[in-house]
Amino acid sequence: MDMNEIKEIFFQECEEQLAELESGLLKLNDGDRDPETVNAVFRAVHSIKGGAGAFGLDDLVSFAHVFETTLDCVRSNRLEPNQDVLKVMLKSADVLADLTNAARDGGSVDQARSRQLIKELEALANGELPQASAAEPAPKAAAPAPIAAPPVNEEGFQPVAFSFEDFEADEPALIEATCYEIVFRPKSELYAKGNDATLLLRDLSRLGEMSIHCDMDGMPPLDRMNPEAAYFSWKISLTTDKGEDAIRSVFEFAEWDCDLDIALAGGSAVDASEELPMQPVPFDLSLLDEAPAGSADEEEQIAIRDRDAAVSAAETASNVLQMAQSSARVPAEAQKNATAAASAAAQQAASAATPTIRVDLDRVDRLINLVGELVINQAMLSQSVIENDTNGTSSINMGLEELQQLTREIQDSVMAIRAQPVKPVFQRMSRIVREIADMTGKSVRLVTEGENTEVDKTVIDKLAEPLTHMIRNAVDHGLETPEKRLAAGKSAEGTVRLTAKHRSGRIVIELADDGAGINREKVRQKAIDNDLIAADANLSDEEIDNLIFHAGFSTADKISDISGRGVGMDVVKRSIQALGGRINISSKPGQGSVFTMSLPLTLAVLDGMVVTVANQTLVVPLTAIVETLQPEASAIHSFGATQRLISIRNSFCPLVDVGRILNFRATQANPVEGVALLVESEGGGQRALMVDAIQGQRQVVIKSLEANYTHVPGIAAATILGDGRVALILDVDAIVAASRGQSLKPEMSLAAAG
């Protein structure tokens, strides 16, 4: 793994942390005061800062640092996270996301915005209130004194890179070799913290010429000795050209846990052994290095033994003597309990956060594709067995049934791999709401529900765009200005509610606002002006509401920055349809509007009804079908030259011959000989689709026609049936639209032949 890969991981992680950050902030915004929420928020920023520092992403580091400092104030209860504070923080989270993106993809961020936020964050950390609330009667946050972080200069904080070499590198040439006398008296804490006198002495010896005297006078008789205590001290004479700072830096980790005196010896660069009053005890630190000296004479052997004794005494902490064990038993018991408690807690936490692995999406897609093939193959196998073997009790049939069940289970499990919660998309929406609320000067609260509802990743990916547009619309057009809201007796803050739930094998996403609702008079007038409807057309409320999905329809008097981007609700509708979904609107004047999207959980399989039309096999998506019925001659009514209606329970419904629409045949079939499928199209209109016969109902694996052939009007996709034949999947909405007179494109007949 190289640095680039790690950087890639870093940005992935940033995305997760940013999501965590935002959801945490939103929780705080909702009044959650759980310290763990604050901690998680803090950690998210902290992690981003840590990684960014390692990659030298200075802009990101400096912003994250200021943000972190302010969050630390919240964490330590010096700053009350009220709405105003959180407003600044949520904006900061947005800027942090922008900075991360800029660091990854290049590009720039709005410098003025981030500078402004840095100022606001610093002000918060210093105990000042955000400007917006300055006039409000003293909120709680005003009370604590500004003990927060020291003021940071405006250019932003630069982390001080600390390097151990600095001491040596800074002034090597300036200092002449000087002799220092160092007295080093470790306390027992030094050993308890894993420091080791011998290692410190070793590092010291690397600075220059050194001689050591070990003072063992403090050593009590063996029977009174505490093996964990520090009895030795050292007098060191060191000749070095690195300076006193270098010596201090050797003891950097130990300075709290020892007495350390460093003094200049009488003269510089003198032979220490002659000058010192004491005789240096041979204390050969080179022996610490792994290779032992080649030949040692007897005297040296004794010296080594002495050293060993000294070292083992010094290493008391790491080599616990038997003597200590009896005294250590009691703490050991306590520790065992603590460990047990810790592991119990760990198990609890583990059950909360199940382990996950990351898999390349390509691999999952390949698997899904293969399972799709398996399903087809299994169906083909079943069919040929049934055809060749009429004896239904054979063990092959039994086995096949089990195989079918297993295949189905495999398929469901594989689909579940790709299913992901809609949470990330929902989270992105809260930022959009904030930004548009700011732009329009409206006060908006986004409430999300069912964030953990899972749906296929491909659906999620394609959901963001239409949803963004709808949210924009809801805030810009749906909600009124605070003044109007107050005048209408509502709270000044508008609410946009985004809900996801599973309903009968589909995911239903609802976007509700508590705004003014659709102004039907205006919509109607606009539609008349744009020649969408006749001036005297008699439309139901529902039909009027659905007019907003027509191309180029916008009721906002002036085209605003936000919604007037050339994308209308018609585009939203089309992208939802492209996902195999439906969208509906219901609106109550003065109370708001609800957009309901219903989407398939996956784009890979579909439950369909297999039908025959003019000797062709077609699949009609089951979700579109309301009911099927056998038309009776008395129920069929003709009007106009070619139109026919069917009466179903005292209401009339246009009858559409699928074979005729698709140009499979030149004349309309006799309805009485076929079957009518009552379908519901976008906008709620019902149609009865005429087909020749129903073959059955089954789950089919969707094979994109676009990818393998080209887009065919009236046909959504294709599939392979159990007998190996290709069947086209009907695009019900296109058929219904065509039946309204907007005929399918001419290449239709060609495609139908294939």
Binding site: M1, D2, M3, E5, I6, I9, F10, Q12, E13, N39, A40, F42, R43, H46, S47, K49, G50, G51, G53, A54, G56, V61, P159, V160, A161, F162, S163, F164, E165, Y191, A192, K193, G194, N195, D196, T198, L199, R202, D203, E252, F253, W256, L288, A317, S318, V320, A328, P331, A332, A334, Q335, A338, T339, A342, S343, A345, A346, A349
Partner: protein, 121 residues
């Protein structure tokens, strides 16, 4: 014998950096994602030195260090704290919890290896 290093850090980025740096420097690296996991793998990891972050979910660095120091077998293992928090207060808390030394982020491979070598024989 390769020296064994146990690293405890919740950031995937930092974990990978530690892994690459330590492996390149000839250490054997065992990794945990937070204090709780760090304590769980302690026995198995049997480290010569531990490098830990401070800010972590479930069990932070302070708690983890205390946990290690309570373990008879590992209470003298050198523990280096790897953190962006360079201020004296945090260092001091880490020390009180029983940290041997610290490495101040931004992460720098030389500093890391240097510090590890300082606290290991």
């Amino acid at each position: 014998m390769k020296k064994r290093v146990l690293t405890v850090d919740d950031s995937r980025t930092i974990r990978n950096m530690l892994l690459v740096t330590l492996n390149n420097a000839g250490f054997e690296t065992i990794q945990a994602e937070d204090g709780v996991e760090g304590l769980e793998v302690l026995e198995e990891a049997n480290p010569d030195v531990i490098v830990t972050d401070i800010n972590m979910p479930r069990l932070d660095g302070f708690g983890f260090i205390e946990g290690v120091r309570k373990n008879d077998r590992y209470r003298a293992v050198p523990i280096l704290v790897l953190t962006t928090e360079s201020d004296a207060e945090k260092k001091n808390r880490a020390r009180q919890a029983g940290a041997t030394g610290w490495i101040v982020k931004p992460f720098d491979p030389t500093k890391l290896i240097d510090a590890i070598e300082r606290v290991t024989a």
